[in-house]
């Protein structure tokens, strides 16, 4: 069994209204030291597989087909054997 963490962020240049809005709210709360907020989503998966390579390949497919939209997202996959 493998524990997989997929970290999904926005590509460079894509606006992040959620991040901007959070930054504004943090400033209003007095956290003036915050200079940038980026929203990133992490999806945890538990996956059966013969080896790390096979799991990597299959998660790449999942990212292409559902978990991300390649037009705006980039992703990072971290795999740990359990």
């Amino acid at each position: 069994m493998y524990e997989v963490k997929v970290k999904i962020g926005l590509k460079k240049g894509i606006s992040d209204p959620e991040g901007k809005n959070t930054l504004k709210a943090l400033h209003l709360l007095g956290f003036k030291n915050v200079k940038e907020v980026k929203t990133i989503r992490t999806i945890d998966l538990m996956i059966d597989g013969r080896n790390k390579g096979e799991v990597q390949k299959s998660v790449e497919q999942m990212c292409q087909r559902l978990l991300t939209n390649p037009v705006i997202h980039n992703y990072e996959i971290k795999i740990k054997e359990k």
């Binding site: 590509k11 240049g13 894509i14 606006s15 209204p17 959620e18 901007k20 809005n21 292409q64 087909r65 559902l66 978990l67 939209n69 390649p70 037009v71 705006i72």
Partner: protein, 278 residues
């Protein structure tokens, strides 16, 4: 074919919520719409007599709503479920020039399915565009003004004169149409050259005016596009919500016939196309 024989599938899964108005729009014009749960097309978890074939219909409509809770991204899960079994059928449906309409969440589904923008291909394996979070980071819900800019390719707007402005309400949080950033300008040019831009947001004087007239920040103020064949059409605003004049905010002052809501011609156009073409 005769209007009363035109069968329209109004697709739904959990979370779609504009199917009734969409169904009514087709029904009131004399066609034969049917609510079809996606399971009925996939042939799972339903009785034999409930199963349906895509080719039993002349038109598919994916209505607005929050399908599957908008998890992952708006329309992504609906699209993934459709793709799981119907990718080839849908591709062939479009190639045979049957029309597909996607409104709001339905537009997001068409983008995620790869049926739009459909510039070089009928259906791409991975999405070629994205309907991203509105620039305002808010759910924008109000009447919006759309200028019709199509020169005849889109079969859903053939009855609307080019340059006319229609009031069609918007209600969405993810409606900013984006293409891969490094090619965005080129793709926008190509869409225009191919006559695939259908509606743009304008102000009451008919000018491109940005926010708040453009509720989401879409580049080029684009509200709706069609594919290269002109038979797949997606737009964020809801034409089914101004089917009648009394659904317009100014209907008592306008003095216009109640039967001429601004969204009505979208449905009239596609039914007219089907009756003539098949």
């Amino acid at each position: 074919m005769k209007l009363e024989d035109v069968k329209v599938a109004v697709l739904r899964i959990e979370g779609t919520n504009c199917e009734q108005e969409s169904y009514d729009a087709f029904k009131r014009l004399g066609a034969y719409p049917e609510f079809v749960h996606l399971k009925q097309l996939l042939g799972i978890d339903c009785n034999k007599d409930e199963k349906r074939d895509v080719f039993g219909f002349q038109c598919l409509m994916i209505p607005g709503g929050f399908s599957a809770g908008d998890y992952i991204r708006g329309g992504a899960i609906f699209a993934a479920r459709i793709k799981s079994k119907l990718q080839k059928s849908l591709e062939s449906f479009v190639k045979q020039e049957y029309p597909i309409l996607g409104v709001c969440n339905g537009f997001q589904v068409l983008i995620e399915l790869g049926l739009l923008p459909g510039i070089d291909t009928v259906m791409s394996d991975v999405p070629q565009a994205c309907l991203n979070i509105n620039d305002s980071d808010r759910f924008e819900c109000r009447p919006t003004l759309l200028k019709h800019e199509n020169n005849g390719k889109c079969i859903f707007t053939s009855k609307i004169p080019n340059g006319d402005v229609r009031l069609i309400p918007s209600a969405h949080a993810e409606g900013k149409l984006l293409f891969p950033l490094e090619r965005q300008e080129k793709i926008l040019d190509e869409l225009e050259k191919n006559d695939q831009v259908v509606f743009r947001y304008v102000d009451p004087d008919g000018n491109y005016a940005g926010y708040p007239w453009n509720p989401n920040g879409s580049p080029g103020n684009i509200a709706g596009i069609c594919n290269d064949l002109g038979n797949v059409f997606g737009l964020m605003p809801h034409p089914e919500r101004t089917f009648y004049r009394h659904q317009h905010p100014d209907w008592t002052q306008s003095g216009l016939d109640d039967n001429v809501g601004d969204g009505r011609e979208v449905f009239e156009s596609v039914l007219d196309y089907i009756c003539k073409r098949f």
